[in-house]
Symmetry: C2
Subunit: 458 residues, 2 copies
């Protein structure tokens, strides 16, 4: 960014909105995945007009802008060496509509707060990324995020009706309608969902909400002696057409770390499943227990109290941090594989891990095939460092070979650009990445919106 631009932006937006002191720049330099770039300035927007003015200015000067909600990207999608646009102050819940079943919110609203407000009306917003306690609506829409309940309810993309977007030239448009059905024009909403800040800046969203289901849910915990047994149990759950509200997988490495962090002593095996099953007719839980036992679950328990259920969930939900605590460095992958290939994938991960002598811990949303491999390593051990890149490449390549994707919910960002090109080339055809680049250019001819990421490899 040219010298003096920050002052010009201050003149445009008013005092206190453009921050350039070292401490602030440092705070906005790293995302939750550890990707790092140092911005030249942070602009804190207070309203849509601020965003519009900033983009108009930056588009004319060709200054890159990267939107920031909470910095909880795991792929480098929100770091930048130019301007970071912090939208967290746009945090009004504008309307909770309990007849039309939507909520109209500004981009900076934190998901957990949104759900607390919705609960008062008997509603909820189903997609629940693990970062819900900090992540913002704008962030989860731009990322098309997933979460634990998505196995039943789908991901964020399935819950967005309309978006207010500031386009690259600073003009403001609304995509879609806050209606359950609308066929007026091409679906621009879904182009923006998962666009990672590269097509426009999302400033408001109309999100579908659902009545909190009035049904009893049992939380079931199962311990297996092998990854394959747990995988086969998942297959049988699917074949018997049981759709749980949550179906999580984790391994001994993750559980040991979480047990230690929480001072807990959950029964441990090679693989664990944590499953929420809805009880409509009174036999769903017993059917599930039979499936788990048939697939060699060594221990199966049903949470007997809300406290116990909550504890089980916390163990799973904080595994991300627990694994960080026991490893010096870590690469988190986000493959999603066809569910009928999940046992093959788990078997391959064991092989790769053994071949290179590197620990790969698996945990995630196994019910939809989206298990995150975590490659743990010591950055001061040159042998391990040498192997990590190969391990990651084999993990990714095998997932695409069996019909999986390189990213189920974390997105591309800086981390997976090369992998994205590989997947599109092998699964979708040689012209698809080029089509996406032309789309990007159509929306952002001066390439100011989060450039150098996602489909923009130039």
């Amino acid at each position: 960014m040219e010298v003096g631009a920050a002052d010009e932006i201050t003149a445009l937006l008013g005092r206190g909105k453009v921050l350039t002191d070292e401490e602030v720049l440092e705070k906005y330099s790293t995302d939750m995945g550890g990707f790092r770039r140092r911005p030249s300035a942070v602009v804190v927007a207070e309203n849509v007009e601020d965003v519009s003015r900033l983009l108009k200015f930056c588009n004319e000067r060709k200054i890159p802008v990267t939107a920031w909600g909470a910095g909880s990207s795991l792929t480098g999608a929100v770091v930048s060496d130019s301007i970071i646009l912090d939208l967290s102050k746009l945090d009004r819940i504008l309307r909770i509509d309990t007849v039309n079943y939507y909520v109209h919110v500004e981009a900076g609203v934190v998901l957990e707060r949104l759900n607390r407000e919705l609960e008062k009306h008997g509603f909820f917003f189903p997609p629940d990324p693990a970062s819900s306690f900090i992540c913002t609506v704008g962030g989860v829409v731009a990322e098309g995020s997933g979460g634990l309940r998505c196995v039943k309810y789908g991901t964020v993309k399935d819950w967005v009706l309309a978006l207010k977007v500031v386009l690259a030239d600073g003009s403001v448009a609304v995509f879609g309608e806050p209606l359950p059905k609308n066929r007026a024009g091409y679906n621009l909403v879904q182009l923006l969902v998962g666009s990672e800040g590269t097509l426009g800046i999302i400033v408001e969203a109309w999100l579908k909400i659902a009545p909190i289901p009035d049904v009893s849910v049992k939380r079931v915990y199962a311990v297996f002696d092998s990854w394959a047994d747990a995988g086969n149990a998942i297959l049988e759950i699917r074949r018997r057409r049981i759709v749980p509200r949550m179906l999580e997988f984790f391994d001994s490495v993750g559980l040991e770390a979480a047990n230690r962090m929480h001072g807990e002593n959950l029964p441990i095996g090679e693989a664990m499943l944590l499953i929420d099953v809805e009880e409509y007719r009174g036999n769903e839980t017993s059917n599930l227990l039979s499936i788990l036992k048939r697939n060699n679950a060594r221990t199966v328990k049903i949470a007997e109290s809300e406290e116990e259920a909550e504890k089980l969930l916390q163990i799973r939900a904080t595994m991300y941090m627990a694994l960080n605590a026991i490893s010096k460095a870590r690469v988190i992958e986000d493959v999603c594989v066809p569910i009928d290939r999940i046992v093959d994938y788990l078997t391959k991960v064991k092989e790769i891990s053994k071949k290179y002598g590197v620990v790969v811990s698996m945990n995630g949303h196994a019910g939809d095939g989206n298990i995150h491999p975590s490659v743990l390593y010591d950055p001061d051990n040159p042998d391990e460092v040498k192997h990590v890149e190969k391990v990651v490449q084999e993990l990714i390549r095998y997932s695409t070979e069996i019909g999986g994707t390189i990213t189920g919910e974390h997105g591309v960002g800086l981390q997976k650009m090369r992998d994205l090109a590989m997947q599109l080339e092998s699964h979708n055809g040689p012209q698809v990445l080029e089509l996406m680049r032309r789309l990007k250019k159509l929306f952002d001819p001066n390439n100011i919106l989060n450039p150098g990421k996602y489909v923009d490899m130039t």
Copy 2:
């Protein structure tokens, strides 16, 4: 189309695939909405290669091509004065995947047949346009169709995972992945859903399927003395967070016509609701009956047998034909209004109808705000003809004034191009239609894919 082009296409694709005899051209001249254009030739594709070769040829010669599945468009989306490309022979069900919960089908598969096959495995494809007995997968995806069950399950857009598409230049690409979660690149799938044959020709689809729910469903029929009472009952159902599997509205004009057509004698009032309610805890139906009675339902009955339930549904499902039988001519609109404004909308329809002395019959998916006004008239009565256009414009304009859309599920086609421009201008911003036109141009630079429709007003 230039003289000799049909022969060249025959040389390219082989004998018997290019039809130009009068009888055939006549058959492909009209859609189900009565829109009419006479094609210069009909090409019957037998495989993806045929589609690819045809498009390559037509793109080089700039000859328009319009895809055709069953001709069941209600808006003129499938009629053309150039080449009609019939895809109905691409009718293979390639894979029913009962672990990954998707079906991989060719574009010409008829929805009803698909559901018959799925039922054998305990699955179904939820969106159910009234034309399911003839409409094809390619058609419903290109239209982003709705239906009766969409009030609970969403429309076609919510059930498409991936598409094989022949692009304007004849190249073949796959958009998306047959996976429950995938974040690899911009969402091209949803650009194609609802694109009405203007961005590419859909030749295969991977559609999500759902286990047939193992829950008791009651079919409830209610008769009201006024449209407003029925509308208020819908509001209370929503406010009490009841999500029925079907919630249909129809009026006395529609029911009289259907009673006559079927030789039935269903109790009649000013407005009727037909509701499928799922019984989980055993009190849902009685709760619903209380709501209906509180809102002045004069008669409420629960179908006592499968036969009775089926008869009620048939009355509703065939109302389209019954109304055709009693009116010489008819304009079918497709507005979808915010549900909290449904009583306002019904009241306004009564006013407009009275003001112009024209019969407007209402029936449709009131549970999601999508009630179709049908303007019935006599084309030989100059007074009525004069009024019809004004009635239609008032019906549409008022729906957009109260936050509704000009089309909930039928799409734009030839019928609603001007209305589309009006809605986008007033709800979405002046640049949105232009953005859509640039998208169209990006996918189809020579404007050969179903030109002169949808966003292409030039």
